[in-house]
Symmetry: C2
Subunit: 621 residues, 2 copies
């Protein structure tokens, strides 16, 4: 048995002492974050798994690790020798995590009905915890004992990394378009509605991008996400921002105070606030179970709400849109210069030969990332990537979450295609774009797939829809041309994008699968969303074409308010991969119109050589 197997044994010892029959360890932090910082990776400490998603379930007699298709191979390797059984989520016969926990817990209770269900209630959100408990109780037809006060992994983890705290900075009104005071007023108006029209509430907020947006603050506590670890409590007459002491300057503290915000000290108990009977409002899908239990034990009326800031943050105001549009035009110019450089290097190498960097070294997936990031860094407004660049050449691009490493990456030759998915954090906007570049000869199947991908992206971009649609309703507009050919990409078509904030944000989304909580948010004016269909053929190639766009009104008639998208990304779709015979007449019209806009919008930012090249690559077909 390896070190991880020993850790599971030590965990069992602790479970035994605490009277816990089944213990659950998620891959999550106290903030329901998408990216979980090292400090919170107890799951990884126990299992040895280094991926981003997984669930560990341990009983006296077994240990199981659930992860999804992205990680089957990696998890099988990393779990080897630990005695932990890999559960491949989504594979036939593999139960859902909650059903599995309910099943195993009922087996545990058949052996010994005094045992408890255990987990660390600081990092399991209330909704998830209640869901597990509910499933167990539905299975055993009676109440189960729950112990959520122990972080067993944390207790064992002697060299646990500390949480990362960095100085907070304030976003200027010229980028946000709205003061914290105004945002708090709007949030309070919503909270009052949730509270029977009354003002005597205590509202708890733990999600980092909601906090960053509400208080117009940013930091660098999490890679690529410009947020600070923080909690917040909002009442009708005051608000408290709980952050790490010393990371808030006196100037920022004074500015916050002027907007009615005081600063408190960050800890996992920040939100366990003495209250005298007022209803406590929280988003149970985000707030940790222990915080919920604190108020439940105090006899408070708990009202489950959706964080009002999430849709407000999603619906960009005119200032934010103007800033984001400017950032995206500059970012498009960066990508066009990159594309021009690639095409030049491909021609210089000659058909099939390895392409060279400016310094004569071989071009690789890593070196193109370096080059592209270098171009972005020339912009004084740039301050970080918005996510780690995916540069995937040839068959590597068929792996949707491929990540080149110093140990394992490909050289790039003047043949086939290179997929580059990248984005920047600028002081005026966050970008996320993908283009697949044709570097040499393509097969007929590659041309067909490339052309279909372009049609898919353009059809969705040009879709008109009645107000009230969520992204689930629109998704088929991108996918149907692919489905006709028996093709499908195994990911969503689009996601919300933050404003100088997380590159993935809600409450909206474009995908066809409707989750257990129902559809994502209605597409509202000002929502920015990506549009990224693709074709992925294992062992052969991967193609993705991704633009950003935002929602705006189309027309109002007696039949309703109709909506449309405005395009925000202005980079050619590589005509070297397009064959008109795979397009309808309407598709050709849309492609030509798109390329006309690309040239018109970005050419003023380019030097003459690149501009002349762009003219050719945005030609009418």
């Amino acid at each position: 048995m390896n070190v991880h197997g020993e850790r599971i044994e030590a965990l069992r010892q602790k479970m035994n002492e605490a009277g816990i029959g089944l213990y659950y360890v998620p891959m999550s932090d106290c903030h329901a974050s998408e990216y979980v910082a090292e400090h919170f990776r107890c799951n990884a400490f126990l299992t040895g798994f280094t991926g981003s998603a997984g669930h560990l379930v341990v009983t006296g007699s077994g240990a199981w690790f659930f992860t999804d298709g992205r990680y089957f191979i990696q998890a099988a390797n990393q779990l080897s020798g630990s005695g932990i059984e890999l559960m491949k989520m989504g594979e036939p016969g593999v139960p859902e995590v909650d059903d599995f926990i309910a099943q195993k817990m009922s087996e545990v209770l058949k052996e010994n009905d005094s045992l408890a269900f255990g987990f660390d209630g600081n990092v399991v959100n209330t909704k998830a915890a209640k869901g597990f408990i509910d499933k167990i109780e539905k299975n055993i037809y009676k109440k189960v004992t729950v112990k959520s006060d122990r972080d067993f992994a944390g207790e064992m983890w002697t060299d646990r990394p500390a949480q990362n705290f960095t100085p907070l900075w304030s976003m200027d009104i010229k980028y946000t378009g709205e003061t914290t005071q105004s945002k708090l007023d709007r949030i309070r108006a919503e909270l009052k509605k949730f509270n029977r029209g009354e003002d005597n509430y205590l509202y708890l907020l733990n999600s980092l991008d909601d906090i960053a947006w509400t208080f117009n603050i940013r930091a660098a506590d999490v890679n690529n996400n410009p947020v600070a670890f923080a909690y917040a409590a909002i009442m009708s007459d005051k608000a408290i921002l709980f952050t790490y002491p010393g990371m808030v300057s006196d100037e920022l503290k004074a500015a916050l105070a002027a907007e009615g915000v005081s600063v408190g000290e960050y800890s996992m108990k920040s939100l366990c606030i003495e209250n005298d009977g007022q209803p406590v409002l929280m988003d149970e899908s985000r707030i940790g179970y222990n915080i919920y239990r604190f108020y439940q034990n105090n006899g408070a009326a708990i009202v489950n709400v959706k964080n009002p800031s999430t849709p407000m943050k999603g619906e960009k105001n005119e200032t934010e849109l103007a800033c984001a549009k400017a950032a995206l035009v500059r970012d498009s110019a960066v990508l066009i210069r990159f594309m021009y450089w690639l095409k030049k290097k491909s021609a210089e190498a000659g058909p099939g030969a390895v392409m060279k960097n400016d310094d004569g070294t071989d071009m690789t997936e890593l070196s193109v990332d370096t080059y592209l990031t270098g171009l972005r860094k020339e912009d004084p407004m740039f301050f970080s990537l918005s996510f780690n660049t995916i540069a995937a050449y040839g068959e590597n691009a068929a792996l949707m979450h491929y990540m080149a490493t110093p140990e394992k990456h490909s050289k790039i030759s003047a043949k086939g295609m290179l997929l580059v998915d990248s984005g920047g954090q600028y002081y005026d906007g966050t970008t996320d774009i993908t283009r697949t570049f044709v570097l040499g000869e393509l097969t007929e199947d590659e041309i067909k797939s490339f052309t279909l991908t372009a049609a898919s992206m353009l059809r969705l971009l040009n879709t008109k829809f009645i107000y009230g649609c969520s992204g689930e309703i629109l998704d088929i507009m991108a996918r149907e041309p692919m489905w006709k050919e028996g093709l499908d990409y195994k990911c969503g078509t689009g996601h919300g994008i933050g404003h100088v904030l997380n590159v993935h944000e809600g409450p909206h989304n474009i995908r066809w699968r409707i989750g257990p909580d129902g559809p994502t948010a209605v597409l509202e004016t000002g929502m920015v969303v990506s549009n990224e269909p693709g074709v992925y053929k294992e062992g052969l190639y991967g193609i993705r074409t991704e633009n950003e766009m935002f929602v705006k009104p189309y027309m109002s008639t007696p039949d309703g308010q109709f909506m449309q998208f405005e395009n925000m990304t202005f980079i050619p779709i590589d005509l070297d991969g397009i064959d008109k015979k795979y397009l309808s007449q309407d598709d050709v019209k849309m492609l030509n119109e798109y390329h006309r806009q690309v040239f018109e919008t970005v050419s003023p930012l380019l030097d003459e050589e690149v501009k002349a090249w762009l003219k050719e690559y945005t030609r009418e077909i």
Copy 2:
């Protein structure tokens, strides 16, 4: 105050005596039926409203009636003088019924906190009742007293009509393709899964079409729906069908007994069965609250399930599909003969003149219904309409639920359009089709709308989709061409259709709005569904083109299983209303291919004169 106002006052008196502060009366029966028989229309008895949908809420100081847009005008007239306030559902500022009840109940309790929330728990389903109670308790932050044992309207209603019971008949295996025993086996396999893999359950079933399907029985207890009033209880080793004594022949009783089914006596308490501790399985969205409470008071473990028969019934087997296809081809021939007759009569009348029936009388919306029904009756397999025919001429067709009456109907002239939505119950299938017929000159806007409607229907019919999609995902394929023009029809695009059963059935549906319970069922092989987009312009015209189709596999690739529709309705789309300039190249191809199939499929059933005419009306454009 009129008689209905007096009834509300009498109701208040009874509420007062019973300590009830707010009383709710739905428009529903004990079977969660779509069509509510007269016996169950307590709501109508109290209010005077004769429409099919509405909710009555009464407190000591007010009475409110909620209904939807179809009935705003009718309800305003019929409620006049009763003192009941009309609440227009869906209008700005009008709350949802449950929110309104919660709000009013909390006001009632502020005055007198000993009062109860009351309703007749026999006709309010468990899910609805729990929903109301939950909303109230979330609003008052404490428990509410519930009294569900009183049917106040029934107590007052001295001349209440009895329930209608008709003889049951058995569906032959050549139409059903599956025995009751086999259906019960499949249902029991599902029930066992819901019950932790154990056999000791009691399962309760009250929905009439589920019962008809499961036990292969039909009757005529409800207009147009060939079902019997019945309840059923299914255990692992036996099943009881509760029906009205005397309506089951000895032969049928013996046949049921041979499949393990005994017959019990129908009453509202049929499902309140003595049980010795086994878990009770029920679909809470269908089973009345009083039945749920009976088991809850007995301390039974209650498991909320979806009726397993509903998806089984929705997924037609090969026998059912073959039968339904045959019925639809014959029904298509009926409609083609009807269309031929209309066109002839229009030509005979001359432009703009009133058209004449065969007997020389003026043609009206009622007389075309009579003529069409007469044609259907010539088929020896026909036994009833599947719903009341909608024949709507000119601007009447803009009202989606228009129903001509002897008092109020239009004559039909050789101009504009006639919309006919009709269907038959045949011993081998149930049909539902709509065509809009061009009777004379159209405006350019009418031609555009007519052509768009055809394109919408054909685009959805030809959509390919990945397995797993529900109708919500597909709906936009029909609607987007309309949305581009600022048009929208305010109803679903399609609904499931029973097999010699209800013309509306679940579990699937095609519509874009996702309800609070999430999407409708995944579209499975064998599901029959209507496809009925339309354009409705108030005061001008209404157009609807409706085919039936069923789901079947398309292709299987490494990316998944893909699905498609097969068309089942073979009636021309009136080419007198089509202008190619409003169609894409693909639309034209689909229309021509559709018309080719219509001629090929139905022409063998027609005489030479109609066949020659059909050739012209299915010509390539």
